[in-house]
């Protein structure tokens, strides 16, 4: 029987953690772009756009991420489309992230006092000018802490992709456990690595919240 040192275990886990990081970044960036597009529809003036965006958000928030992953991976295969695990994982996470970010940001836009809309309207600004110059600059500031906070959920969400065979941190944990028969050590490390990724993010969110909110200063 081959002996595995602690360093062997940790090294393999860290190598796999790179994919957790990459997948998180891709999901967050892609989800952010798509989320922004959904936000535009959601707060826009087209009734059908609003409905579509609302439906999207409810669909992806109302079903487990795991089901979405299954559908992306096995579901598309049923139609003869062969989807590699990394693509299914990235796609599902992007769609899922977008639904949450769109909703978080909608809340931020709606948190801007009605008076700001009225004052800018009374000065002759059109909808897009109001958005561009008055509403979004203020909403953006409120949006930073919850957005950074949500990135923690994205990092943890990537763990689910192990189930469709994408080798990231969790999947690597399972593989290494099967080889070493040391589940406690291995999953202990896995948990620590996740914590090391998430803790700075949640800390950053907290600090940003305090910084952007000092005595309710808005500038």
């Amino acid at each position: 029987m081959i002996e595995f040192t602690t360093w062997d275990i940790l090294r393999n886990l860290l190598l796999a953690a790179r994919w957790t990081v990459v997948l998180s970044l891709v999901s967050f960036a892609g989800g952010g772009l798509l989320g922004a597009a959904i936000l535009v529809l959601r707060i826009g003036r087209g009734r059908w756009g609003r409905r579509l965006a609302k439906g999207y958000v409810e669909l992806f928030q109302g079903t487990p991420l795991l089901m979405q992953l299954f559908l992306a991976f096995f579901g598309l295969a049923l139609f003869g489309i062969d989807v590699p695990a990394w693509l299914a994982a990235g796609l599902a996470l992007i769609l899922w992230t977008a639904s949450f970010l769109a909703e978080i940001w909608r809340g931020c836009v709606e948190a801007i006092a009605r008076g700001q809309w009225e004052a800018s309207a009374s000065l002759g600004m059109g909808y897009f000018q109001q958005m561009r110059w008055v509403i979004l600059p203020q909403a953006l500031k409120i949006a930073v802490p919850p957005t950074v906070g949500f990135s923690v959920q994205v990092v943890k969400g990537t763990a689910l992709t192990s189930i469709i065979g994408f080798v990231e941190l969790s999947k690597a944990g399972t593989i290494v456990t099967n080889a070493t028969f040391q589940p406690f050590t291995v999953y202990g490390f896995v948990a620590l690595i996740y914590f090391a990724l998430c803790f700075p993010l949640s800390q950053a969110s907290r600090i940003l919240e305090r910084k952007l909110n000092v005595a309710h200063r808005n500038h």
Binding site: G115, A119, L123, G124, Y127, Q129, W133, V134, R217, N218
Partner: protein, 240 residues
């Protein structure tokens, strides 16, 4: 020739008819106070003139610009008539100067240097030029409201609507804002103000409108409205 023509304006919120056929014509340079109990429709009327509320029937015209619900007509109307709010509504992410410059640059595409010069003139007019680089939350309520007036004036409107502009202010700050409004009136600006400052209405206004249950109940020069109220409702409102 009237500057503002309000003709048979009706407005409903659901089943509740808040304006039941309003007719008021305002001549250029007139200063009009709208008084009445809360719920009498006075704020709603003011908001309709600026297109912040749509109207169900009737028409509103300001210097030839008709109130219609599309963005092009609304913009044309709003360039002719500015509005000051009870809650100031300054843009908190801009400096005082930025507040006065923003809409000039965005809406009128005025070059920055020109917009800044205009902002300085207008802030000087309300006595706040020295606050050009301050942010709104560094100002007192009275100062914020004066900035809001400067911001509206910088768009060079033909008339100003003032919606209870001193109601959110501490008593000692009311006078500084009223002094600015009085100065505007003296310079010939057309003003329509919803107000609870009866003494100010009596001293400064050319006409007083008393609204009651969505109608213009009495209208006339202040001596008449305050001195010899004709209806029981107005007498009760004035407490005489």
């Amino acid at each position: 020739m009237s500057l503002i023509e309000i003709t048979e304006v009706k407005k409903r919120f659901g089943d509740n008819e808040v304006l039941k056929g309003i007719n008021i014509d305002v001549a250029p340079g007139e200063v009009i106070a709208i008084i009445g109990k809360s719920g009498s429709g006075k704020s709603t009327l003011l908001r309709c003139i600026n297109g912040l509320e749509t109207i169900d029937e009737g028409s509103i015209q300001v210097a030839g610009a008709q109130l219609l619900p599309d963005e092009v007509h609304l913009k044309a109307l709003r360039l002719k008539v500015g509005m000051i709010f009870q809650s100031f509504n300054l843009f908190p992410h801009h400096t005082v100067g930025g507040n006065v410059m923003l809409s000039q640059m965005v809406v009128k595409k005025t070059p920055k240097a020109e917009a800044e010069a205009m902002a300085r003139r207008m802030l000087d007019r309300v006595g706040l030029l020295h606050k050009f680089d301050a942010y709104p939350d560094e100002l007192s309520g009275g100062q914020q409201q004066r900035v809001a007036i400067a911001r509206a004036l910088a768009m060079q409107p033909m008339a100003l609507l003032c919606d209870e502009i001193t109601s959110a202010l501490d008593p000692e700050l009311v006078q500084e804002v009223l002094a600015v409004v009085k100065e505007l009136a003296r310079e010939g600006m057309t003003l329509l103000m919803v107000t609870h400052e009866m003494r100010f209405a009596r001293d400064v206004c050319s006409r007083v409108v008393f609204m009651h249950q969505g109608r213009v109940h009495e209208i006339g020069p202040p001596e008449e409205v305050f001195g010899a109220p004709k209806t029981a409702e107005l007498r009760q409102f004035l407490g005489v």
